[in-house]
């Protein structure tokens, strides 16, 4: 088990690591992936919500058989969610994890 709550021993190793260029690179890589992705799916979701309440006629128009634009865009929300999930998991497994693990190793592994 690791350090216990309030009287946590602070090792300077963390500060050194946090200030290192490798760590800065890891952080920026992570943020450059997840922040834009979050902005994207939230924008797309709220676009859908706004269309559902303010563009009812459009959303109620049938586009494919009896499938309306509303249902179609709703199903596309499922598709985009699944897609983002797969893309992120693949990126994190292949790109992020190896770099993060290398830094953890450098710090002495898991205690």
């Amino acid at each position: 088990m690791s350090k216990e709550a309030p009287d946590r021993v602070v090792d300077d190793l963390n500060v050194t690591m946090q200030n290192s260029p490798e760590f800065a690179q890891l952080r920026s890589k992570f943020r450059k992936f997840v922040f834009p992705m979050t902005a994207l799916f939230l924008a797309w979701y709220f676009l859908f919500v706004l269309l559902s309440v303010f563009a009812k006629d459009f959303m109620g128009t049938r586009v494919l058989g009896n499938v309306t634009w509303g249902l179609m865009l709703g199903l596309l929300q499922f598709v985009s969610t699944f897609t983002i999930t797969m893309v992120y998991a693949r990126w994190a497994d292949r790109v992020f994890d190896p770099e993060a693990e290398a830094l953890a190793q450098k710090m002495g592994g898991q205690q």
């Binding site: 350090k3 709550a5 946590r8 979701y45 309306t68 709703g74």
Partner: protein, 548 residues
């Protein structure tokens, strides 16, 4: 989730029962016996705190993902969403989209970092680099409030729903059902800890998804496996019965701002639900936490696609008026559809799955609340962090017993109430009080204790206050059909907040208060921030799985 057991119109009178209560009870009893056996087997080794709170962190990502789906897909998301789609068509479908997309917040921003930083509870993460005592108390308070309202909603729903499916009539019988459900749940939690609870959730999720999947295929087979035909027939059936065009938006949500507010709470609430967050501690690494969410997203997404078919299927094969006039109202759409398709046996199976669902969700909430009481309040606040793991687990078990009793009593009082406000409150509080602090503490260097306290208490107080003074609690006009107001309280009107859901106000407020609190305080610990950030991204120093 149970946001949809909404107006739960008169859950009480249940003289007309469909199917055979004996079969329903029999199948449910079988579920209880099987899960009890598994819980007992899985939980022989439950003495350490990591075993009790986090199942020894030994679950795989896939197992945990299935358990998350079991935790998240409450009876109401099965019965409630299917019913809402059967009655309101497209608008009913909107709920499931918010509930699904919300998981991306958890996947991208929260799950892995939280797994690396924390130990047992949400407060572990929030208080990591801030002043322990006040932040833990705040985080535990909001954990308890969110879990309590969620729990109450489940129990209240359970009483009515289960009574309907078992043919138990009268208030006494329904109370008895709540007591029995509560006692079984208490046993799972106290005896099984997180490991037992997880297995119950896994079994339940598998049953629920297979059951819904079979029904979906069955319905589709009646429409030549064409979604378009199903939609067309359902709409025609609805309109011929004097109903509405189910494919048009706006049947359920009349006020655009209200719907936007609800959508915000749905999409931002999930990643702040303490019982969801605690599940990430049951896996050994952040990579497995990621896998859990990936599995959960697939399962939950596919399940919501099933409910789309089930809802429209019920609209066509059962019909809106039959559903509305059934004892459970809107929530009876899925059971009635099961009866229509497969007679008493399928109804029995689906009813048992609904029971199992309530049990599993309530167990997950109880263990979360008891962990927070013991680990955050008892250990850190009362014992100054010096409680032994054995003492902590003992207190957690005691807390689970007390919370279970409170849930039973609360469920009895909440029986027949409009429970929508409870769940809306849970999601809105989670999004307003928990999410800002979680995100700030993970991503904002400057964030400090004052920011956390302002954000948690500000989000908590504002969302509860706005709900109390919303039309959900008082002042909705009387419905001529039922001669009752859809509000929780009858005959009074003290509402001044116009919306049913407070999210559009309280969520931004939580973020803003967190910001103002932070920038007006000088407190900052560079060392702790370094430890937290390095740990969150690299996993260095993260809690490891226990071996035995």
């Amino acid at each position: 989730m149970s946001a949809l057991l909404t107006t739960a119109p008169s859950l009480v009178p249940a003289a007309t029962t469909v199917g055979n209560p004996a079969i329903n009870i029999g199948i449910f009893a079988l579920f209880v016996v099987v899960t009890l056996a598994i819980v007992i087997r899985a939980s022989r080794n439950n003495r350490s705190a990591a075993e009790y709170y986090a199942g020894g962190r030994a679950f795989t990502g896939r197992q945990n993902g299935i358990a998350i789906a079991g935790d998240y897909l409450s009876a109401a998301s099965f019965l409630g969403i299917a019913g809402a789609i059967a009655i309101n068509g497209y608008d009913g479908f909107l709920y499931s989209i918010g509930f699904l997309v919300a998981w991306l917040v958890a996947l991208l921003l929260v799950a892995e970092l939280l797994r690396n930083v924390g130990k047992y509870t949400m407060a572990d993460v929030l208080s990591f680099r801030l002043r322990q005592r006040p932040v833990r108390i705040a985080a535990a308070t909001s954990t308890l409030v969110v879990s309590f309202f969620y729990l109450l909603a489940q129990m209240a729903g359970a009483g009515g729903l289960v009574a309907l499916l078992l043919g138990v009539e009268g208030a006494m019988g329904q109370r008895l059902v709540i007591v029995v459900v509560g006692l079984i749940m208490i046993f799972y939690v106290i005896y099984g800890g997180m490991k037992g609870t997880t297995w119950v959730q896994i079994i339940k999720a598998v049953l629920l998804i297979i059951g819904a999947g079979i029904m979906t295929l069955w319905v589709l087979s009646k429409f030549g496996f064409s979604l378009s035909t199903l939609l067309g027939d359902a709409t025609t059936a609805s309109q011929e019965a004097g109903g509405k065009d189910l494919l048009q938006p706006g049947l359920q949500y009349k006020n655009p701002i209200d719907f936007i507010s609800l959508s915000m709470a749905l999409v931002l609430g999930t990643a702040g639900l303490p019982h969801v967050l605690m599940r990430f501690y049951t896996v050994p690494t952040s990579r497995e936490a990621r896998r859990s969410v990936v599995w959960a997203i697939w399962l939950i997404g596919v399940f919501y696609l099933f409910t789309l078919v089930l809802g429209f299927g019920a609209a066509d094969l059962v019909g809106a008026s039959t559903i509305k006039n059934a004892p459970g109202g809107v929530n009876s759409a899925a059971p009635l559809l099961a009866f229509q398709l497969g007679g008493e046996i399928l109804l029995g199976i689906i009813s048992a799955v609904a029971f199992a669902t309530i049990l599993a969700v309530v167990a997950g909430l109880t263990i979360t609340a008891s962990a927070s009481l013991s680990h955050d309040i008892y250990n850190t606040v009362v014992k100054g962090g010096r409680a032994t793991p054995e003492e902590e687990v003992k207190v957690a078990r005691l807390a689970a017993l007390v919370l279970g009793a409170v849930a039973i009593i609360g469920g009895i009082f909440a029986l027949g109430q409009n429970i929508a406000f409870l769940v809306a409150l849970a999601f809105a509080i989670a999004a307003s009080a928990n999410l800002p602090t979680i995100l700030y503490s993970l991503f904002w260097k400057r964030f400090n204790t004052r920011g956390a306290l302002w954000s948690i208490y500000g989000g908590l107080i504002s969302s509860i206050t706005l709900i109390i003074f919303s039309p959900v609690v008082s002042g909705k006009p009387i419905d001529p059909l039922t001669n009752k107001s859809p509000s929780m309280l009858q005959g009074v009107d003290f509402h001044w907040f116009p919306l049913d859901n407070p999210g559009i106000v309280s969520i931004p407020l939580g973020f803003v208060l967190g910001y103002i609190g932070t920038v007006t305080s000088k407190e900052y610990s560079a060392a702790k921030y370094a430890e937290m950030e390095v740990r969150s991204l690299t996993g260095h120093g993260a809690e490891v799985a226990t071996h035995h």
